[in-house]
């Protein structure tokens, strides 16, 4: 356990029990599937069995006629959407695509693609109705792999897709949705200056976020058009906005209540079943509930992209990097929008590299549309870049941490995306590894140690909070951020610190879309930073009000009242001889001094600092079976200020675990028909406790001065280094450079059967 900030704050940096802990461990917390209204209908989504097929026709008449069936819908029941990319490049949304991902129209583009939906009085009747829907498919050739999808003769998902970002624009359509390019300096000159140049190609598999809770929702729409949605998501305001847009409803006609969420990791920032349930509810006048099965989650909700990459790095003998270049080809899935831009921007961000060049390709293929996954894009390019970094260090005979330290980005380092780095923190993570007693321990036969680093932007943006002082002096803090990683505890800690009251007197909740101001998703490691800022702002406003109320009670000027240790006190003896007034005492006079004491704050929080992580791991490879056992994992991360250190450590451990799964086990396996063969946790191999060593988090605190308590985002960057750290450790153990994820036993065995490079 890290000993963090023992004296700076009274509450920030402590480890109290989370307010949502008891309902969760006693099974009483309400998740997406747990709510039921009287008269709720069972909603079932009918899905394509084909990876790629033209839908010639869908006949729903027989299904609609089945007693107990209340509605059957297809893509044509949704309003049309204009074909245009709206918004910024990385997240440019084309609702023509979004509505077709929610429900197919002209074509089914992946196995599991929704093609119709049924609302019936029971599961059995819905299943019977499904069998009565007649769909005439023309099965088309499909393409799964990104390199195959880029070939000139590849089957086209969209016959009119012209690659964006290429000038002049291509005249022929392809599966390449977009090409991106970023550069600083002169890479040709940089490579000429290098003593050693290493270039390598890599591939990574598509992996799912694998949240334990499947997508689940219940929706109802009243006769006046007012609708309510209960859903498990990372952002109920985004569920409201997307559902309203897809159904052509005014945003104000929808109220979305956040259920507890059983994991999201980026995958619950988009909608799949919410617009379907809402449309079925609108048509039937009854509540409709849809719960995805695990099979549906794998086949029809976003994994992150698989990739094909080439990275080249040039270094001098003294360890100075002179140039770096990367080409990153990402599977977007069935619709454009992979995180390849982030991969291009983050790839070399931890390092001072005067000459850099990255190119990215966003490529559609017959897989589910990719969705965000923990630092989207960055872990993928980090696998390639950090592997080549390791090869460079070995080639010039330098310790991998020392090599990284020599080139480490610091405040003022030019970034490939334009500005200079505004915050430090990376060097400190490397020093934490260097100073760790285990870093120098000797390893045995078939054992090896690997090091890698990672970079992630972290997020800020729009968040809202309200604070209410209850009659007994306790405090209610409401925010619009779904709590995935313990944010209610963090919000309560920051409010307690600001008010100067005991943590147990603060209750933090997540409010619905009608009860608190707009708040962007719980994603991008933004909540503690942005929503925390809103909580502190609202608390300060409430304190100003409390001071004014105390001034009224004492008949003094408000400037004569200060707030200290949870009480109003006279600013000096000149103000008068007054006993401090507690929150409870001021709340008791609320009516007389102006009514209920509440405050709200909304922010567009900027100046968030990026996250840096550095990790090392020790592995042992069984040469007979190819099994890799992780012996030790040490993960250092710059966390700004750890508001609740236990949950920061949890984020780091969770990111590393997911990275271990990505490195060693997880992948989408397709059969020759383009159907996923391992859509369940028995065959899609997530790490379990017995696969894992103790993951030791090292909290490095370089506070962000922009945040009231120095917080930085902590949720994502920890997943960037593990894949390369493990690959580098395997290379150290058996002398084989693994370039394809997952590094499963058959691949290790195959590598051992061949001579080393």
């Amino acid at each position: 356990m890290n000993d963090v900030a023992p004296s700076r704050y009274k509450w920030v940096g402590t480890r109290p029990i989370r307010p949502d802990g008891v309902p969760k461990v006693t099974g009483r917390a309400m998740y997406g599937a747990d709510l039921a209204y009287p008269g709720t209908l069972y909603g079932k989504v009918v899905r394509s069995p084909h990876a790629h097929a033209r839908i010639r026709s869908i006949n729903t008449e027989k299904a609609k006629a089945l007693p107990g069936v209340k509605a059957v819908i297809t893509g044509s029941d949704f309003p049309n959407q204009i074909f245009e990319y709206i918004g910024p490049e990385r997240v440019a949304v084309n609702f023509w695509h979004v509505t077709r991902n929610v429900m197919a129209r002209e074509k089914a583009l992946y196995e599991g693609h929704a093609v119709a939906a049924i609302a019936a009085i029971s599961k059995e009747i819905a299943e019977e109705a499904e069998a009565l829907i007649e769909i005439d498919y023309e099965v088309l050739p499909h393409v799964i792999d990104v390199d195959d999808a880029m070939k000139p003769d590849a089957p086209l998902l969209f016959e009119d897709m012209i690659t964006r970002g290429v000038e002049p624009a291509p005249t022929k359509p392809s599966n390449v949705s977009k090409r991106l390019e970023f550069a600083i300096g002169d890479v040709a000159k940089g490579f000429k200056e290098a003593d050693v140049v290493i270039e390598k190609e890599f591939k990574t598999a598509a992996v799912h976020q694998a949240y334990i809770e499947p997508h689940a929702t219940i929706a109802r729409v009243d006769a006046d058009g007012q609708g309510e949605i209960w859903a498990s998501s990372q952002g109920h305001f985004v569920v409201r906005a997307l559902t309203a847009k897809l159904l052509n409803m005014p945003v104000g006609d929808l109220r979305v209540t956040p259920a507890e969420i059983g994991g999201g990791f980026g995958g619950k920032t988009v909608v799949y079943i919410e617009p379907v349930a809402t449309l079925l509810a609108k048509l039937t006048g009854r509540p409709v509930k849809i719960v995805m099965s695990r099979d549906e989650v794998f086949k029809a909700s976003g994994p992150t992209s698989g990739s094909s990459m080439k990275v080249k790095i040039g270094v001098k003998k003294d360890g100075t990097i002179t140039a770096a270049e990367g080409t990153f080809k990402f599977q977007a899935g069935a619709f454009p929008g992979s995180p390849v831009m982030n991969a291009c921007l983050c790839a070399f961000a931890p390092y001072v590299v005067e000459n850099q060049h990255t190119v990215g390709y966003d490529v559609v293929c017959n897989r589910p549309k990719s969705a965000a996954y923990r630092a989207p894009g960055s872990p993928i390019s980090a696998f390639a870049v950090e592997s080549v970094m390791d090869m460079c260090a070995k080639k010039i005979g330098m310790d991998p941490v020392a090599f990284r330290l020599k080139n480490a980005a610091k405040v003022g380092t030019p970034m490939i995306y334009g500005p200079k780095l505004g915050h430090g923190g990376y060097i400190e993570t490397l020093e934490a590894l260097q100073q760790h007693p285990a870093y120098k321990t000797k390893l045995g036969k078939n054992q090896g140690r690997g090091v890698a680093s990672g970079y992630w932007f972290n997020g800020g943006g729009e968040s809202s909070a309200t604070v209410q002082i209850n009659a007994d002096g306790t405090i209610l803090v409401a925010t619009g951020s779904p709590d995935i990683g313990g944010s209610r505890a963090s919000m309560a800690l920051m409010a307690a610190e600001t008010f100067g009251v005991d943590y147990k007197n603060v209750r933090a909740i997540v409010a619905d879309t009608a009860s608190v101001g707009y708040t962007h998703v719980t994603g991008g490691s933004r909540v503690t930073f942005a929503t925390g800022t809103a909580v502190v702002d609202a608390s300060k406003k409430a304190i100003d009000d409390l001071r004014a109320r105390a001034a009224m009670i004492w008949d003094v000027d408000v400037d004569g009242v200060v707030w200290e240790d949870g009480c109003a006190k006279p600013a000096s003896s000149n103000v008068g001889d007054f006993k401090p007034l507690s929150l409870r005492e001021i709340a008791g006079k609320a009516a007389a001094t102006g009514g209920p004491i509440t405050a709200a704050a909304s922010v567009n929080a900027g100046g968030q600092a990026p996250g840096f992580a550095s990790q090392f791991c020790d592995v042992e490879v069984d040469p007979e079976t190819g099994k890799v056992t992780i012996l030790r994992f040490v993960a250092a991360q710059d966390v700004g200020t750890a508001i609740h250190p236990s949950y920061v450590e949890g984020q780091i451990q969770g990111g590393v675990v997911q990275g271990i799964g990505w490195a060693l086990h997880e992948e989408y396996i397709y059969n020759p028909k383009g159907q996923m063969d391992n859509a369940g946790f028995l065959d899609y191999r997530c790490p379990v406790a017995s696969d894992l060593p103790m993951i030791e988090p090292l909290l490095v605190e370089v506070p962000n001065p922009v945040h009231p308590y120095g917080a930085k985002g902590v949720g994502e960057v920890n997943i960037c280094p593990p894949m390369a750290a493990i690959a580098n450790a395997i290379d150290a153990a058996i002398g084989r450079r693994m370039t394809e994820l997952p590094m499963s036993p058959p691949k290790i065995r195959a590598a051992l059967d061949h001579s080393a490079d």
Partner: protein, 85 residues
């Protein structure tokens, strides 16, 4: 009035400013920058507000805000919007 060094991404400049990427703009706040660019390229202001993340002296702001203050010589980069998981 202070002067800010303003840079657009290459893709953005290709689309909206005929390839010009760098500007020196007299501005106290980001609002002044957006207003000045919009005057030079009508409609550009909306694109900047909706489609970019802005970095001011290296500090990243997810969405440009009118209220963001600049100092003499501030470096302002409008870069593609970023989104996390």
């Amino acid at each position: 009035m202070t002067t800010a060094q303003v840079t657009l991404s290459s893709g953005f400049s290709r689309r909206y400013t005929g390839g010009r990427r760098e500007f020196e703009i007299e501005a106290r706040t980001l609002r002044d920058v957006i207003r000045a660019l919009d005057k030079m390229y009508p409609g550009l202001g909306d694109h900047l507000e909706e489609e970019t993340t802005v970095a001011i002296d290296g500090a990243i702001h997810d969405a440009p805000g009118y209220f963001q203050k600049l100092r003499q010589g501030s470096e302002v980069f409008f870069i593609p919007k970023l989104e996390g998981g």
